[in-house]
Amino acid sequence: MTMTRTAEQPLTELEQVTIRFAGDSGDGIQLTGRQFTVTTAIIGNDLSTLPDFPAEIRAPAGSLPGVSGFQINFSSKDIRTPGDEPNVLVAYNPAALKVNIGDLVEGGYLIVNEDAFTSGNLDKAGYQSNPLEDGSLTRFRLIKVPLSTLTQNALASTGLGKKDTERCKNFFSLGMMYWLYDRPMEPTLEWIADKFSKNPQIAEANAMALKAGYNFADTTELFGQHFTVKKATLPPGFYRNVTGNEATALGFIAASRLSGLPLFYGSYPITPASDILHELSRHRNFGVKTFQAEDEIAAVAATIGAAYTGAIGLTGTSGPGVALKSEAIGLAVMTELPIIIANVQRGGPSTGLPTKTEQADLLQAMFGRNGECPVAIVAPATPGECFTMAVEAVRIALKHMVPVFYLSDGYLANGAEPWQVPAASDLPKIEVNFAKSIPEGSEKFMPYARDPQTLARPWAIPGTPGLEHRIGGLEKQDVTGNVSYDPHNHEHMIRTRAEKVERIALDIPDVEILGKPEGKLLVIAWGGTYGAVTSAVEQVQAQGKSVSAIHLRYLNPFPKNLGSILQRFEKVLVPEINMGQLRLLLRAKFLVDAIGLNQMQGKPFKISHIIKKINEVLG
């Protein structure tokens, strides 16, 4: 295709843009979004993404439940969320338009594939009349593009059939977006060449579609102008675009290296945690042993067996899987073995919303087992931080001989952001002390003798001569580890196991305050709401209002300075993607009259939503 540029069109600089791609799950939406993300990362914008896909692999084409979306927020400034509302919506069919149009900002670009607005597709989406013609979209800058036709024409020379050319239309639209936001095509062209190296005809077609879309936007003056977003001023360093699940997997591999122990990952496939299994199973050369178990229970049971044997025992799942693992987690508590349970939370209860995010498993992690059964709980705040907190989960488990919950969520797991890659040599070593022999002065090995500081019991692994011992789920006599039904011993052991977890507070950092150390309102968040809450608080602070924030990465035990911080604020607000689970814990532990902001729609918070609530509470 040859095109002649008519005239140079004006290029306007913007600070920040949010684009959402939406279409059928078979339209290649996630692929298009990821390509835009990679290119945007490479040119140095700060960014955050929100993939949003249906639970069905291929729901009926054109139907509302089959709509897949991908939102990217990119900026020349520091950003922490995928953006409240898109400035640009690319809708590949009427269903995608219907599901997403409510989020598009007024005056935003609405780019639609005109070819898909057939009466059949309009019916499937439940439109009585064609919204492209009935005047219902006048609040937006509507750009109607016959994407299918244009792509077909552009690829006429390739000899590909209609079905094949139709599949290239996402690249045509991606090309248009590259022109509109002044991005280079090279990274995607390279990716296409690599990805389709075994099928040069398809590679050629996709590359042609991308270029054709770019040139089409340029020559037709469809938009009348285009935009640029300058590089963000990220701290100097080496960056990588990571999703939370990738960073989680990398963190656990790093923990294996830092501790010198092999990583054992027992898991049963479950959305949205399966990508951790996929990633870890690729890295056998790091000594990683992945075990795809017959069920969730076997996954954790094998993990306990591995931990007993001296490996880093990690099991990963989502909420329904944790429910099945509960009894075995109790066994790890009773046998005081270090395992890590990674829960990538999703909408519940039961099967719930498998592909959507929620934070409603905090109390499950805290209390969801029979008996008094304390575990440590940590939660990363951002996709990149999944790496750090995975290492931290392992460190705590090994040092304190305690099961540790690692609570990620669907939003962190699938969302991506630039991550400053640490040098392996800068990461702190994780100390491991296996029991090697019977301590001097003792005649017998005592599997439940305790470290006076941490109360951790010795980790004596099979293969160590002289330390043969038996453990199990029956109550243990302290020190000897013998089965004991003694009433006083039972109470002593319950209190000891609780105290052991409480003492972890001495081994974790104090929580830092964003803003002044006292004032009218303290906003407390945990997990994946970090970005939205922090951005909201900073914006309200900029208006001179008395609001501060803290973000909890340690949920059990809490950082030891938390109680004193709470006392210094008149009001406490806890935004959560649940009915108020952290709030319940804070109220119980600190007798604080915390206010909740609770949303359970399978979606992250919008910054504006939190700002509104903060202002409401401030009065």
Partner: protein
């Protein structure tokens, strides 16, 4: 940053001292009911273990829940009394994580075939090199007398006062169908046969499955008396041996012959000789013979004891280690910096 292989601690090797039965007895008081068949199985295990040439510290007993599952407390090795039904999964983690260990799973008919049925078949299917000993007493003992998945149809128990309306599982059938590479049966009170069978199971590489008929003298006393009582046993049970014809009887005057597709009991003599009988072949790859034998039930047939089937297949933990070695040969021992710096990357200059 060290690039050496992460290892399970540094375990000092020591010469294997000659061990005796006493070395495998713990200081714990054995708390099974007096007269329980479990005592005999424990005694035979403690007799066999010193003969295996494996140091105590390299042996791990894993169990689930039930009377039999108290077993690890009484054996002076490493031991893990886990939770109901999950022992095969725990043991899989132990063995996969450290293939140097000899791992035994002690389970029962309820633990292994009811609540833990899924783990049992999948551990067997994977052929993890563990030895599973299933104590079959056809009853729930620890919960005081409910029927189990091996209780005979119609059996009256505390939870089935009108008789069960469920068909029992045949443990050997389950194991064979789950692709077991070693399947055997023995009897608690036949001490010689039991110790020999346990020794064979220990020597097999891959999952060994041993069913032991075990008498619960409190809740199901005499469950096997009809054929296992000492006086009549030789007429009503048959010890199967590889390469030998299926002969049984106190006077060794009876045998098993194949009639079309069905086995039948025949009297030796007249025109029938040992040459007419089925010859046991535990290595027969199609398992047909093993299934014949597993399906032989009293009173129509003598009940077989011995090794029904054995085949040599690579075990799970060996294949896992091979994948690690192959990956390291191809990609090196894993460079953490290179791993972290892969993917879509860029540099922000100062």
């Amino acid at each position: 940053m060290s690039l050496t292989t992460p290892k399970n601690g540094e375990i000092p090797e020591r010469p294997v001292a000659k061990l005796t039965r006493k070395d495998f007895i713990t200081d714990q008081e054995v708390r099974w009911c007096p007269g329980c068949g479990d005592y005999s199985i424990l005694a035979q295990m403690q007799k066999v273990l010193p003969e295996l040439g494996v140091p105590r510290e390299k042996i791990v007993f894993v169990s689930g829940i039930g009377c039999s599952s108290r077993f690890p407390y009484y054996v002076n090795t490493y031991g893990f009394h886990s939770i109901h039904g999950r022992a095969p999964a725990v043991a899989t983690g132990v063995k996969a994580s450290n293939p140097d260990l000899m791992v035994w799973v002690i389970t029962g008919d309820g633990d292994g075939l009811s609540i833990g049925g899924n783990h049992l078949i999948h551990a067997i299917r994977r052929n993890v090199d563990i030895n599973i000993v299933l104590f079959n007493n056809r009853i729930y003992g620890l919960t005081k007398g409910q029927y189990s998945p091996t209780s005979e149809f119609g059996k009256k128990t505390k939870s089935s006062p009108f008789g069960t309306i469920e068909s029992p599982l045949n443990p050997l059938d389950v194991a064979l169908s789950a692709q077991a590479t070693f399947v055997a049966r023995s009897l608690d009170i036949d001490t010689n046969h039991l110790s020999q069978t346990l020794a064979r199971a220990a020597q097999h590489k891959g999952t060994s499955f041993v069913e032991v008929y075990q008498n619960c003298n409190i809740f199901n006393d005499g469950a096997f008396d009809a054929f296992a009582e000492k006086k009549i046993r030789s007429d009503r049970m048959i010890a199967i041996e590889h390469g030998k014809p299926l002969v049984f009887g106190k006077d060794r005057n009876k045998g098993i012959r194949l009639n079309g597709l069905r086995p039948e009991v025949v009297d030796l003599g007249n025109s029938i000789t040992e040459a007419d009988l089925l010859v046991h072949d535990e290595k027969a790859p199609d398992k047909t013979l093993a299934y014949f034998l597993a399906h032989m039930e009293f009173p129509e047939f003598p009940v077989p004891m011995g090794v029904f089937y054995e085949s040599s297949q690579p075990s799970y933990e060996v294949l896992l280690e091979q994948q690690i070695e192959a990956a390291r040969r191809a990609k090196g021992h894993g460079d953490l910096d290179a791993l972290l710096r892969a993917g879509d990357t860029w540099t922000v200059e100062a």
